[in-house]
Symmetry: C2
Subunit: 237 residues, 2 copies
DNA sequence: GACCAAATATGGTCAGACCATACATCCATC
DNA sequence: GATGGATGTATGGTCTGACCATATTTGGTC
Protein backbone atom coordinates (compact mmCIF):
# COMPACT_ATOMS: atom_id res chain seq x y z
CA UNK A 1 0.00 0.00 0.00
CA UNK A 2 0.85 3.55 0.30
CA UNK A 3 1.11 2.79 -3.34
CA UNK A 4 0.60 6.46 -3.96
CA UNK A 5 -3.01 5.60 -4.49
CA UNK A 6 -2.08 5.19 -8.09
CA UNK A 7 -1.97 8.87 -8.80
CA UNK A 8 0.36 8.71 -11.69
CA UNK A 9 -0.29 5.07 -12.27
CA UNK A 10 -3.97 5.50 -12.67
CA UNK A 11 -5.14 9.02 -13.28
CA UNK A 12 -8.44 7.39 -14.00
CA UNK A 13 -10.90 10.10 -14.69
CA UNK A 14 -10.97 12.08 -11.49
CA UNK A 15 -8.30 14.61 -11.09
CA UNK A 16 -6.67 14.62 -7.68
CA UNK A 17 -8.17 17.90 -6.60
CA UNK A 18 -11.64 16.61 -7.46
CA UNK A 19 -11.09 13.73 -5.13
CA UNK A 20 -10.06 16.15 -2.43
CA UNK A 21 -13.17 18.16 -3.12
CA UNK A 22 -15.33 15.09 -2.76
CA UNK A 23 -13.64 14.04 0.46
CA UNK A 24 -14.04 17.45 1.99
CA UNK A 25 -17.65 17.60 0.91
CA UNK A 26 -18.16 14.17 2.46
CA UNK A 27 -16.63 15.29 5.66
CA UNK A 28 -18.85 18.34 5.79
CA UNK A 29 -21.94 16.20 5.41
CA UNK A 30 -20.80 13.33 7.61
CA UNK A 31 -19.16 15.21 10.47
CA UNK A 32 -21.83 17.81 10.39
CA UNK A 33 -19.32 20.57 9.97
CA UNK A 34 -20.87 23.97 9.93
CA UNK A 35 -19.99 27.60 9.52
CA UNK A 36 -17.06 28.59 11.67
CA UNK A 37 -15.46 25.16 11.83
CA UNK A 38 -11.91 24.79 10.63
CA UNK A 39 -10.52 22.41 8.07
CA UNK A 40 -7.16 20.72 8.67
CA UNK A 41 -4.14 22.56 7.36
CA UNK A 42 -3.11 22.15 3.76
CA UNK A 43 -0.11 20.00 4.60
CA UNK A 44 -2.08 17.78 6.92
CA UNK A 45 -4.91 17.42 4.44
CA UNK A 46 -2.42 16.50 1.75
CA UNK A 47 -1.00 13.73 3.88
CA UNK A 48 -4.40 12.43 4.95
CA UNK A 49 -5.69 12.24 1.41
CA UNK A 50 -2.40 11.08 -0.05
CA UNK A 51 -2.13 13.85 -2.57
CA UNK A 52 0.23 16.74 -3.00
CA UNK A 53 -0.31 20.04 -1.36
CA UNK A 54 -0.84 21.60 -4.79
CA UNK A 55 -3.88 19.45 -5.33
CA UNK A 56 -5.24 20.35 -1.94
CA UNK A 57 -4.74 23.98 -2.71
CA UNK A 58 -6.59 23.73 -6.02
CA UNK A 59 -9.50 22.14 -4.20
CA UNK A 60 -9.45 24.90 -1.62
CA UNK A 61 -9.46 27.54 -4.34
CA UNK A 62 -12.61 25.97 -5.73
CA UNK A 63 -14.27 25.90 -2.34
CA UNK A 64 -13.25 29.48 -1.81
CA UNK A 65 -14.68 30.54 -5.15
CA UNK A 66 -17.92 28.85 -4.15
CA UNK A 67 -18.06 30.89 -0.98
CA UNK A 68 -17.69 27.84 1.24
CA UNK A 69 -14.33 28.45 2.89
CA UNK A 70 -12.15 31.41 3.65
CA UNK A 71 -8.41 31.13 4.15
CA UNK A 72 -6.46 33.12 6.68
CA UNK A 73 -2.72 33.08 7.05
CA UNK A 74 -0.81 33.11 10.25
CA UNK A 75 -1.42 31.17 13.37
CA UNK A 76 -4.14 30.87 15.93
CA UNK A 77 -7.81 29.99 16.12
CA UNK A 78 -8.72 32.10 13.11
CA UNK A 79 -5.98 30.85 10.85
CA UNK A 80 -6.38 28.22 8.19
CA UNK A 81 -9.35 27.33 6.03
CA UNK A 82 -12.54 28.18 7.86
CA UNK A 83 -16.00 27.24 6.68
CA UNK A 84 -17.96 30.32 5.80
CA UNK A 85 -21.22 31.14 4.18
CA UNK A 86 -21.10 33.50 1.29
CA UNK A 87 -23.16 32.13 -1.55
CA UNK A 88 -23.79 35.71 -2.55
CA UNK A 89 -20.25 36.80 -3.23
CA UNK A 90 -19.61 33.61 -5.13
CA UNK A 91 -22.61 34.22 -7.32
CA UNK A 92 -21.48 37.74 -8.05
CA UNK A 93 -18.25 36.62 -9.61
CA UNK A 94 -20.02 33.96 -11.55
CA UNK A 95 -22.57 36.35 -12.99
CA UNK A 96 -20.06 39.07 -13.76
CA UNK A 97 -17.94 36.66 -15.74
CA UNK A 98 -20.86 35.28 -17.65
CA UNK A 99 -22.05 38.78 -18.42
CA UNK A 100 -18.62 39.51 -19.82
CA UNK A 101 -18.67 36.32 -21.79
CA UNK A 102 -21.96 37.33 -23.34
CA UNK A 103 -23.33 34.10 -21.98
CA UNK A 104 -25.94 36.29 -20.40
CA UNK A 105 -27.43 39.55 -21.55
CA UNK A 106 -28.20 42.49 -19.35
CA UNK A 107 -31.85 42.09 -20.20
CA UNK A 108 -31.89 38.56 -18.85
CA UNK A 109 -30.30 39.67 -15.63
CA UNK A 110 -32.71 42.57 -15.24
CA UNK A 111 -35.68 40.34 -15.97
CA UNK A 112 -34.50 37.89 -13.36
CA UNK A 113 -34.13 40.71 -10.94
CA UNK A 114 -37.65 41.79 -11.68
CA UNK A 115 -38.87 38.30 -10.89
CA UNK A 116 -37.05 38.13 -7.57
CA UNK A 117 -37.89 41.63 -6.47
CA UNK A 118 -41.57 41.26 -7.20
CA UNK A 119 -41.65 37.98 -5.37
CA UNK A 120 -39.73 39.44 -2.44
CA UNK A 121 -41.82 42.57 -2.30
CA UNK A 122 -44.94 40.46 -2.17
CA UNK A 123 -43.58 38.52 0.78
CA UNK A 124 -42.27 41.64 2.45
CA UNK A 125 -45.70 43.25 2.22
CA UNK A 126 -47.11 40.29 4.08
CA UNK A 127 -44.48 40.32 6.81
CA UNK A 128 -43.96 44.09 6.83
CA UNK A 129 -40.28 43.48 7.48
CA UNK A 130 -37.17 45.46 6.70
CA UNK A 131 -38.84 48.85 6.79
CA UNK A 132 -36.19 50.46 8.97
CA UNK A 133 -33.41 49.49 6.58
CA UNK A 134 -35.40 50.75 3.61
CA UNK A 135 -35.97 54.02 5.38
CA UNK A 136 -32.31 54.52 6.10
CA UNK A 137 -31.42 53.72 2.51
CA UNK A 138 -33.92 56.23 1.16
CA UNK A 139 -32.55 58.93 3.41
CA UNK A 140 -29.02 58.07 2.36
CA UNK A 141 -30.01 58.32 -1.29
CA UNK A 142 -31.47 61.74 -0.65
CA UNK A 143 -28.14 62.82 0.74
CA UNK A 144 -26.07 61.04 -1.87
CA UNK A 145 -23.59 63.04 -3.88
CA UNK A 146 -23.08 61.52 -7.25
CA UNK A 147 -24.46 58.46 -9.02
CA UNK A 148 -22.06 56.01 -7.41
CA UNK A 149 -23.09 56.89 -3.93
CA UNK A 150 -26.73 56.86 -4.94
CA UNK A 151 -26.45 53.40 -6.42
CA UNK A 152 -24.63 52.15 -3.36
CA UNK A 153 -27.58 52.94 -1.14
CA UNK A 154 -30.01 51.93 -3.83
CA UNK A 155 -28.49 48.48 -3.59
CA UNK A 156 -29.03 48.52 0.15
CA UNK A 157 -32.67 49.43 -0.38
CA UNK A 158 -33.32 46.60 -2.80
CA UNK A 159 -31.30 44.20 -0.67
CA UNK A 160 -33.59 45.04 2.22
CA UNK A 161 -36.57 43.99 0.14
CA UNK A 162 -34.93 40.70 -0.69
CA UNK A 163 -33.97 40.07 2.91
CA UNK A 164 -37.48 40.83 4.04
CA UNK A 165 -38.63 37.78 2.13
CA UNK A 166 -36.85 35.69 4.73
CA UNK A 167 -35.34 33.49 2.05
CA UNK A 168 -31.57 33.51 2.17
CA UNK A 169 -31.20 31.96 -1.25
CA UNK A 170 -33.26 34.51 -3.15
CA UNK A 171 -31.59 37.19 -1.09
CA UNK A 172 -28.18 35.87 -2.11
CA UNK A 173 -29.15 35.68 -5.76
CA UNK A 174 -30.51 39.19 -5.55
CA UNK A 175 -27.31 40.58 -4.08
CA UNK A 176 -25.31 38.80 -6.70
CA UNK A 177 -27.44 40.24 -9.48
CA UNK A 178 -27.08 43.73 -8.13
CA UNK A 179 -23.35 43.37 -7.77
CA UNK A 180 -22.99 42.08 -11.28
CA UNK A 181 -24.95 44.93 -12.82
CA UNK A 182 -23.74 47.69 -10.52
CA UNK A 183 -21.87 49.37 -13.32
CA UNK A 184 -24.94 49.38 -15.51
CA UNK A 185 -26.99 50.77 -12.65
CA UNK A 186 -24.65 53.73 -12.37
CA UNK A 187 -24.95 54.28 -16.10
CA UNK A 188 -28.71 54.18 -15.77
CA UNK A 189 -28.70 56.84 -13.08
CA UNK A 190 -26.41 59.04 -15.14
CA UNK A 191 -28.63 58.62 -18.16
CA UNK A 192 -31.74 59.57 -16.24
CA UNK A 193 -29.99 62.63 -14.86
CA UNK A 194 -32.60 63.12 -12.18
CA UNK A 195 -33.10 60.66 -9.34
CA UNK A 196 -36.42 62.14 -8.32
CA UNK A 197 -38.46 59.57 -10.18
CA UNK A 198 -36.46 56.71 -8.73
CA UNK A 199 -36.86 58.05 -5.23
CA UNK A 200 -40.58 58.48 -5.73
CA UNK A 201 -40.68 54.83 -6.77
CA UNK A 202 -38.75 53.82 -3.68
CA UNK A 203 -41.18 55.63 -1.43
CA UNK A 204 -44.12 54.09 -3.20
CA UNK A 205 -42.64 50.63 -2.74
CA UNK A 206 -41.91 51.28 0.90
CA UNK A 207 -45.42 52.61 1.50
CA UNK A 208 -47.00 49.59 -0.13
CA UNK A 209 -44.90 47.20 1.96
CA UNK A 210 -45.66 49.16 5.10
CA UNK A 211 -49.39 49.05 4.32
CA UNK A 212 -49.25 45.36 3.50
CA UNK A 213 -50.45 46.06 -0.01
CA UNK A 214 -48.71 43.30 -1.94
CA UNK A 215 -50.33 44.03 -5.29
CA UNK A 216 -49.27 47.66 -5.27
CA UNK A 217 -45.78 46.71 -4.12
CA UNK A 218 -45.40 44.27 -6.98
CA UNK A 219 -46.61 46.79 -9.51
CA UNK A 220 -44.41 49.54 -8.10
CA UNK A 221 -41.38 47.32 -8.53
CA UNK A 222 -42.23 46.79 -12.17
CA UNK A 223 -42.63 50.52 -12.73
CA UNK A 224 -39.36 51.20 -10.98
CA UNK A 225 -37.28 48.75 -12.98
CA UNK A 226 -38.90 49.83 -16.22
CA UNK A 227 -37.86 53.38 -15.43
CA UNK A 228 -34.28 52.38 -14.75
CA UNK A 229 -33.95 49.88 -17.57
CA UNK A 230 -36.47 50.67 -20.29
CA UNK A 231 -37.19 47.43 -22.09
CA UNK A 232 -37.97 49.13 -25.40
CA UNK A 233 -34.52 50.59 -25.59
CA UNK A 234 -31.62 48.29 -26.18
CA UNK A 235 -29.87 46.89 -23.15
CA UNK A 236 -26.79 48.72 -22.06
CA UNK A 237 -26.08 51.80 -24.14
CA UNK B 1 14.79 43.92 -13.45
CA UNK B 2 12.75 40.93 -13.88
CA UNK B 3 12.75 41.60 -10.21
CA UNK B 4 10.13 38.91 -9.89
CA UNK B 5 7.60 41.66 -9.94
CA UNK B 6 8.00 41.71 -6.23
CA UNK B 7 6.01 38.57 -5.65
CA UNK B 8 7.71 37.47 -2.51
CA UNK B 9 8.96 40.93 -1.79
CA UNK B 10 5.56 42.45 -1.78
CA UNK B 11 2.65 40.06 -1.49
CA UNK B 12 0.64 43.20 -1.03
CA UNK B 13 -2.93 42.20 -0.62
CA UNK B 14 -3.77 40.41 -3.82
CA UNK B 15 -2.69 36.87 -4.04
CA UNK B 16 -1.02 35.99 -7.29
CA UNK B 17 -3.84 33.84 -8.57
CA UNK B 18 -6.28 36.67 -7.97
CA UNK B 19 -4.19 38.86 -10.19
CA UNK B 20 -4.29 36.18 -12.85
CA UNK B 21 -8.03 36.00 -12.46
CA UNK B 22 -8.36 39.72 -12.92
CA UNK B 23 -6.11 39.72 -15.98
CA UNK B 24 -8.02 36.92 -17.62
CA UNK B 25 -11.30 38.61 -16.84
CA UNK B 26 -9.91 41.80 -18.34
CA UNK B 27 -8.89 40.00 -21.44
CA UNK B 28 -12.30 38.44 -21.82
CA UNK B 29 -13.95 41.83 -21.65
CA UNK B 30 -11.38 43.72 -23.69
CA UNK B 31 -10.63 41.23 -26.44
CA UNK B 32 -14.24 40.26 -26.64
CA UNK B 33 -13.46 36.63 -26.08
CA UNK B 34 -16.46 34.43 -26.28
CA UNK B 35 -17.52 30.85 -25.85
CA UNK B 36 -15.28 28.49 -27.78
CA UNK B 37 -12.21 30.69 -27.72
CA UNK B 38 -9.04 29.31 -26.22
CA UNK B 39 -6.88 30.74 -23.49
CA UNK B 40 -3.10 30.53 -23.79
CA UNK B 41 -1.51 27.46 -22.27
CA UNK B 42 -0.73 27.38 -18.59
CA UNK B 43 2.99 27.73 -19.12
CA UNK B 44 2.59 30.58 -21.56
CA UNK B 45 0.12 32.36 -19.32
CA UNK B 46 2.50 32.01 -16.41
CA UNK B 47 5.27 33.67 -18.36
CA UNK B 48 3.06 36.44 -19.69
CA UNK B 49 1.74 37.35 -16.27
CA UNK B 50 5.04 36.77 -14.50
CA UNK B 51 3.70 34.27 -12.03
CA UNK B 52 4.29 30.60 -11.48
CA UNK B 53 2.32 27.95 -13.20
CA UNK B 54 0.82 26.96 -9.86
CA UNK B 55 -0.81 30.34 -9.53
CA UNK B 56 -2.13 30.14 -13.06
CA UNK B 57 -3.58 26.76 -12.29
CA UNK B 58 -5.30 27.97 -9.15
CA UNK B 59 -6.91 30.74 -11.16
CA UNK B 60 -8.01 28.26 -13.80
CA UNK B 61 -9.55 26.04 -11.15
CA UNK B 62 -11.61 28.99 -10.00
CA UNK B 63 -12.72 29.79 -13.52
CA UNK B 64 -13.58 26.17 -14.04
CA UNK B 65 -15.62 26.04 -10.86
CA UNK B 66 -17.48 29.09 -12.08
CA UNK B 67 -18.35 27.33 -15.31
CA UNK B 68 -16.32 29.73 -17.42
CA UNK B 69 -13.59 27.49 -18.79
CA UNK B 70 -13.13 23.84 -19.43
CA UNK B 71 -9.72 22.21 -19.60
CA UNK B 72 -8.82 19.44 -22.00
CA UNK B 73 -5.54 17.61 -22.03
CA UNK B 74 -3.64 16.53 -25.08
CA UNK B 75 -2.91 18.46 -28.17
CA UNK B 76 -4.85 20.07 -30.93
CA UNK B 77 -7.53 22.67 -31.40
CA UNK B 78 -9.68 21.34 -28.59
CA UNK B 79 -6.91 21.08 -26.05
CA UNK B 80 -6.18 23.60 -23.37
CA UNK B 81 -8.47 25.91 -21.48
CA UNK B 82 -11.49 26.71 -23.59
CA UNK B 83 -14.10 29.27 -22.68
CA UNK B 84 -17.39 27.58 -22.02
CA UNK B 85 -20.75 28.50 -20.70
CA UNK B 86 -22.04 26.44 -17.85
CA UNK B 87 -23.40 28.75 -15.22
CA UNK B 88 -25.82 25.97 -14.35
CA UNK B 89 -23.37 23.29 -13.35
CA UNK B 90 -21.39 25.82 -11.37
CA UNK B 91 -24.48 26.86 -9.50
CA UNK B 92 -25.32 23.26 -8.75
CA UNK B 93 -22.09 22.67 -6.90
CA UNK B 94 -22.49 25.90 -5.05
CA UNK B 95 -25.99 25.10 -3.90
CA UNK B 96 -25.21 21.52 -2.99
CA UNK B 97 -22.39 22.63 -0.74
CA UNK B 98 -24.43 25.30 0.90
CA UNK B 99 -27.23 22.84 1.48
CA UNK B 100 -24.73 20.52 3.13
CA UNK B 101 -23.39 23.34 5.23
CA UNK B 102 -26.90 24.05 6.41
CA UNK B 103 -26.40 27.51 5.09
CA UNK B 104 -29.57 26.96 3.17
CA UNK B 105 -32.63 24.94 4.05
CA UNK B 106 -34.52 22.69 1.70
CA UNK B 107 -37.55 24.89 2.23
CA UNK B 108 -35.70 27.93 0.93
CA UNK B 109 -34.56 26.09 -2.13
CA UNK B 110 -38.01 24.73 -2.86
CA UNK B 111 -39.59 28.12 -2.37
CA UNK B 112 -37.10 29.63 -4.77
CA UNK B 113 -37.90 26.92 -7.22
CA UNK B 114 -41.57 27.70 -6.87
CA UNK B 115 -40.87 31.32 -7.68
CA UNK B 116 -38.89 30.52 -10.80
CA UNK B 117 -41.21 27.83 -12.07
CA UNK B 118 -44.28 29.97 -11.70
CA UNK B 119 -42.57 32.83 -13.43
CA UNK B 120 -41.33 30.56 -16.20
CA UNK B 121 -44.66 28.83 -16.63
CA UNK B 122 -46.35 32.19 -17.01
CA UNK B 123 -43.93 33.16 -19.75
CA UNK B 124 -44.16 29.77 -21.36
CA UNK B 125 -47.93 30.04 -21.53
CA UNK B 126 -47.54 33.27 -23.43
CA UNK B 127 -44.99 31.91 -25.87
CA UNK B 128 -46.36 28.37 -25.98
CA UNK B 129 -42.82 27.08 -26.24
CA UNK B 130 -41.14 23.87 -25.21
CA UNK B 131 -44.22 21.72 -25.58
CA UNK B 132 -42.49 18.97 -27.53
CA UNK B 133 -39.83 18.53 -24.86
CA UNK B 134 -42.45 18.45 -22.14
CA UNK B 135 -44.38 15.84 -24.06
CA UNK B 136 -41.36 13.61 -24.45
CA UNK B 137 -40.55 13.94 -20.76
CA UNK B 138 -44.07 12.99 -19.74
CA UNK B 139 -43.97 9.91 -21.95
CA UNK B 140 -40.59 8.97 -20.53
CA UNK B 141 -41.91 9.31 -17.00
CA UNK B 142 -44.79 7.02 -17.90
CA UNK B 143 -42.26 4.44 -18.99
CA UNK B 144 -39.87 5.03 -16.13
CA UNK B 145 -38.87 2.11 -13.95
CA UNK B 146 -38.05 3.25 -10.50
CA UNK B 147 -37.94 6.62 -8.77
CA UNK B 148 -34.51 7.56 -10.04
CA UNK B 149 -35.49 7.23 -13.64
CA UNK B 150 -38.74 9.04 -13.01
CA UNK B 151 -36.96 11.97 -11.38
CA UNK B 152 -34.48 12.11 -14.20
CA UNK B 153 -37.19 12.81 -16.73
CA UNK B 154 -39.09 14.93 -14.27
CA UNK B 155 -36.07 17.20 -14.23
CA UNK B 156 -36.19 17.36 -18.02
CA UNK B 157 -39.83 18.35 -17.87
CA UNK B 158 -39.28 21.18 -15.44
CA UNK B 159 -36.15 22.27 -17.27
CA UNK B 160 -38.27 22.59 -20.40
CA UNK B 161 -40.56 24.98 -18.59
CA UNK B 162 -37.63 27.10 -17.51
CA UNK B 163 -36.14 27.08 -20.99
CA UNK B 164 -39.46 28.10 -22.45
CA UNK B 165 -39.16 31.37 -20.59
CA UNK B 166 -36.34 32.25 -22.96
CA UNK B 167 -34.22 33.52 -20.09
CA UNK B 168 -30.93 31.66 -19.83
CA UNK B 169 -30.20 32.90 -16.35
CA UNK B 170 -33.42 31.75 -14.76
CA UNK B 171 -33.08 28.54 -16.70
CA UNK B 172 -29.58 28.04 -15.32
CA UNK B 173 -30.67 28.77 -11.78
CA UNK B 174 -33.56 26.39 -12.22
CA UNK B 175 -31.34 23.56 -13.39
CA UNK B 176 -29.00 24.18 -10.51
CA UNK B 177 -31.82 24.05 -8.03
CA UNK B 178 -33.11 20.79 -9.44
CA UNK B 179 -29.67 19.26 -9.41
CA UNK B 180 -29.08 20.29 -5.84
CA UNK B 181 -32.31 18.78 -4.59
CA UNK B 182 -32.32 15.73 -6.83
CA UNK B 183 -31.78 13.40 -3.91
CA UNK B 184 -34.67 14.94 -2.05
CA UNK B 185 -36.81 14.64 -5.16
CA UNK B 186 -36.17 10.91 -5.29
CA UNK B 187 -37.08 10.66 -1.62
CA UNK B 188 -40.28 12.55 -2.32
CA UNK B 189 -41.27 10.17 -5.09
CA UNK B 190 -40.53 7.18 -2.89
CA UNK B 191 -42.57 8.67 -0.10
CA UNK B 192 -45.54 9.33 -2.34
CA UNK B 193 -45.38 5.79 -3.62
CA UNK B 194 -47.60 6.59 -6.56
CA UNK B 195 -46.55 8.91 -9.35
CA UNK B 196 -50.06 9.21 -10.74
CA UNK B 197 -50.77 12.49 -8.99
CA UNK B 198 -47.49 13.99 -10.15
CA UNK B 199 -48.14 12.96 -13.72
CA UNK B 200 -51.66 14.41 -13.58
CA UNK B 201 -50.04 17.66 -12.46
CA UNK B 202 -47.59 17.53 -15.30
CA UNK B 203 -50.35 17.09 -17.83
CA UNK B 204 -52.34 19.91 -16.31
CA UNK B 205 -49.31 22.19 -16.51
CA UNK B 206 -48.66 21.19 -20.10
CA UNK B 207 -52.29 21.75 -21.06
CA UNK B 208 -52.36 25.17 -19.49
CA UNK B 209 -49.18 26.20 -21.31
CA UNK B 210 -50.50 24.78 -24.57
CA UNK B 211 -53.75 26.71 -24.14
CA UNK B 212 -51.91 29.89 -23.20
CA UNK B 213 -53.64 29.92 -19.84
CA UNK B 214 -50.98 31.52 -17.69
CA UNK B 215 -53.06 31.74 -14.52
CA UNK B 216 -53.89 28.06 -14.55
CA UNK B 217 -50.29 27.16 -15.32
CA UNK B 218 -49.05 29.17 -12.37
CA UNK B 219 -51.57 27.62 -10.05
CA UNK B 220 -50.85 24.12 -11.32
CA UNK B 221 -47.17 24.60 -10.53
CA UNK B 222 -48.01 25.55 -6.98
CA UNK B 223 -50.23 22.49 -6.57
CA UNK B 224 -47.53 20.28 -8.02
CA UNK B 225 -44.73 21.45 -5.76
CA UNK B 226 -46.98 21.37 -2.73
CA UNK B 227 -47.72 17.75 -3.53
CA UNK B 228 -44.05 16.86 -3.83
CA UNK B 229 -42.80 18.97 -0.92
CA UNK B 230 -45.67 19.55 1.48
CA UNK B 231 -45.08 22.65 3.49
CA UNK B 232 -46.18 21.89 6.99
CA UNK B 233 -47.56 25.35 7.23
CA UNK B 234 -48.11 28.25 4.88
CA UNK B 235 -45.25 29.83 2.98
CA UNK B 236 -43.07 28.65 5.83
CA UNK B 237 -39.49 29.79 6.20
C1' DG C 1 -2.67 6.36 -50.31
C1' DA C 2 -2.80 3.92 -45.87
C1' DC C 3 -0.85 2.86 -41.76
C1' DC C 4 2.13 2.92 -37.90
C1' DA C 5 5.91 5.16 -35.00
C1' DA C 6 8.05 9.15 -33.12
C1' DA C 7 7.81 13.95 -31.81
C1' DT C 8 5.38 17.35 -29.34
C1' DA C 9 2.16 20.28 -26.81
C1' DT C 10 -1.02 20.25 -23.22
C1' DG C 11 -2.95 19.58 -18.71
C1' DG C 12 -2.20 16.82 -14.18
C1' DT C 13 0.60 15.90 -10.34
C1' DC C 14 4.27 15.77 -7.27
C1' DA C 15 8.24 17.14 -4.25
C1' DG C 16 10.74 20.40 -1.93
C1' DA C 17 11.96 24.83 -0.95
C1' DC C 18 11.40 29.61 0.78
C1' DC C 19 8.69 33.78 2.20
C1' DA C 20 5.26 36.59 4.95
C1' DT C 21 2.16 36.54 8.51
C1' DA C 22 0.30 36.19 12.97
C1' DC C 23 -0.17 33.94 17.03
C1' DA C 24 2.29 31.33 20.98
C1' DT C 25 5.91 30.91 24.08
C1' DC C 26 9.61 32.13 26.83
C1' DC C 27 12.58 34.96 29.28
C1' DA C 28 14.60 39.16 30.95
C1' DT C 29 13.49 43.15 33.16
C1' DC C 30 11.14 46.04 36.26
C1' DG D 1 4.19 39.01 39.89
C1' DA D 2 3.40 41.74 35.85
C1' DT D 3 5.10 43.53 31.63
C1' DG D 4 7.13 43.60 27.27
C1' DG D 5 10.13 42.32 23.81
C1' DA D 6 12.70 38.43 21.42
C1' DT D 7 12.15 33.99 19.66
C1' DG D 8 9.63 29.97 18.07
C1' DT D 9 6.29 27.98 15.08
C1' DA D 10 2.23 26.84 12.35
C1' DT D 11 -0.23 28.52 8.53
C1' DG D 12 -1.13 30.04 3.93
C1' DG D 13 1.23 31.90 -0.49
C1' DT D 14 4.41 31.24 -4.08
C1' DC D 15 8.02 29.51 -6.86
C1' DT D 16 10.91 26.03 -9.35
C1' DG D 17 11.65 22.07 -11.74
C1' DA D 18 10.62 17.70 -12.70
C1' DC D 19 7.85 13.76 -14.49
C1' DC D 20 3.50 11.48 -16.17
C1' DA D 21 -0.71 10.74 -19.19
C1' DT D 22 -3.02 12.08 -23.13
C1' DA D 23 -3.99 13.34 -27.73
C1' DT D 24 -2.78 15.44 -31.83
C1' DT D 25 0.69 16.24 -35.32
C1' DT D 26 4.29 14.87 -38.02
C1' DG D 27 6.90 11.98 -40.80
C1' DG D 28 8.47 7.81 -42.42
C1' DT D 29 7.48 3.25 -44.24
C1' DC D 30 5.11 -0.04 -46.88
Amino acid sequence: MTELAGQARNPARVRAFEGVLARIEERIAADGLTVGDRLPGERQLAEQLQVSRSSVREALRVLESLGVVSSQVGRGPDAGAVLTSRPGSALTGLLRLHLGLATLSLREVVDTRLMIEQWSAGHAARSRAGLETMERAIAAMDAARGPEEFVEHDIAFHAAIAEASGNRLTSAIMQALRGAVQRFAIDAVVRLGDTGGLQADHRRIRDAIRDGDAATAVEAIAVHLERAYPSTAGPAS
